[in-house]
């Protein structure tokens, strides 16, 4: 029970200022980037007309996400944005799945990771909107029905970032807390593995998909 709510940090003193780095999140993120690199190398090492298992999985994933992007954004922008969406989905999938390995923590259990990804999606969506519509049209969108609706539109855009990042963080954090509490109550090996399978594999996959789809939808709302 004492594992709840504890964050291991490195404190760096630099010129009178104090920087705090969440060490677990950082190390796990780098580990996941390494795992994704291994996966990609395995998938693209010996490319053939008749694919092997790794190439088959990656082709399935990439073509599925490409279809989603082309459906949502149209042919031109869909082909341009699907590498980003694909990378986001694979990163979040590995992030949420790594919790099922003992002694490993999900980087998405930290609000900083999910908020960073949400802010990235926000800037990409609005940058795309400025590129597609032009700066003048983009700004007049905010004054659309009547001019004093501007603060509401602004808050609505900022609330998207909060909602998307807190959704992922809360799901993963809540799942890990429930696992800790149940392991404390049951002391056993019978119940916790099923909970790991449910919260890690099932909820993790769905939440990674939801985060990716919502980022895609926010971009497509700005383009249309």
């Amino acid at each position: 029970m004492e594992g709840i709510g504890k964050v291991s940090q490195w404190v760096i003193h630099l010129g009178g200022m104090q920087f705090k780095v969440n060490s677990t999140t950082l190390l796990m993120s780098w580990l996941i980037i390494g795992l994704i690199l291994i996966f990609i190398v395995l998938a693209t090492r010996r490319r053939k007309m008749v694919p092997g298992p790794w190439q088959n999985i990656s082709e399935l994933l990439v073509s599925w996400i490409k279809d989603l992007c082309v459906d949502a954004l149209g042919e031109h922008w869909g082909r341009r944005y699907y590498p980003l969406i694909c990378a986001l989905f694979i990163f979040l999938l590995f992030c949420n799945w790594i919790g099922i390995i003992p002694f490993m923590d999900e980087p998405t259990k930290d609000l900083n990771t999910t908020l960073g990804l949400g802010i990235m999606g926000f800037f990409i969506a609005h940058g795309t909107a400025i590129k597609v519509k032009g700066l003048k049209n983009y700004i007049t969108e905010y004054f659309k029905p009547i001019f004093f609706m501007m603060p509401l539109n602004l808050v609505g855009e900022l609330a998207k970032v909060i909602s998307i990042s807190f959704r992922l963080f809360g799901n993963i954090m809540g799942g890990s807390i429930i696992i800790i509490v149940v392991s404390y109550l049951a002391y056993g090996l019978i119940l916790p593995p099923f909970l790991y399978a449910f919260f890690g594999l099932f909820v993790g996959t769905i939440q990674a998909f939801v985060f990716t789809i919502l980022t895609l939808v926010y971009i497509s709302v700005q383009i249309r």
Binding site: I4, G5, S163, F166, R167, F169, G170, N171, M173, G174, I177, I206, Q207, F209, V210, I213, L214
Partner: protein
């Protein structure tokens, strides 16, 4: 044993966490149930589209779950930060 101000704040925070989680779970429970019922009806009418309907239902449920997740975050803040 004296009860000081800090104890009262702690008790109020724990009580607030329980209330937040309990009331916050009503809405997502009802909403996800409605989504699942509608998906069941649709699958009954058109069983060939079951895979796509299930996927759409899960995504919609995950989105409508977010108010419950907010109350969970608020409860965690009340327990561990206050």
């Amino acid at each position: 044993m004296d009860i000081s101000g800090a104890d009262i704040i702690r008790a109020a925070a724990l009580l607030g966490a329980g209330l937040s989680m309990g009331f916050g779970a009503i809405g997502p429970g009802v909403g996800e149930g409605i989504a699942a019922a509608k998906a069941c009806e649709a699958i009954g009418r058109n069983p060939r589209e079951a895979g796509m309907l299930t996927r759409t239902m899960l995504v919609g449920q995950a989105v409508s779950e977010s108010t419950g997740i907010y109350s969970l975050v608020v409860a965690l803040l009340l327990i561990f930060v206050v």
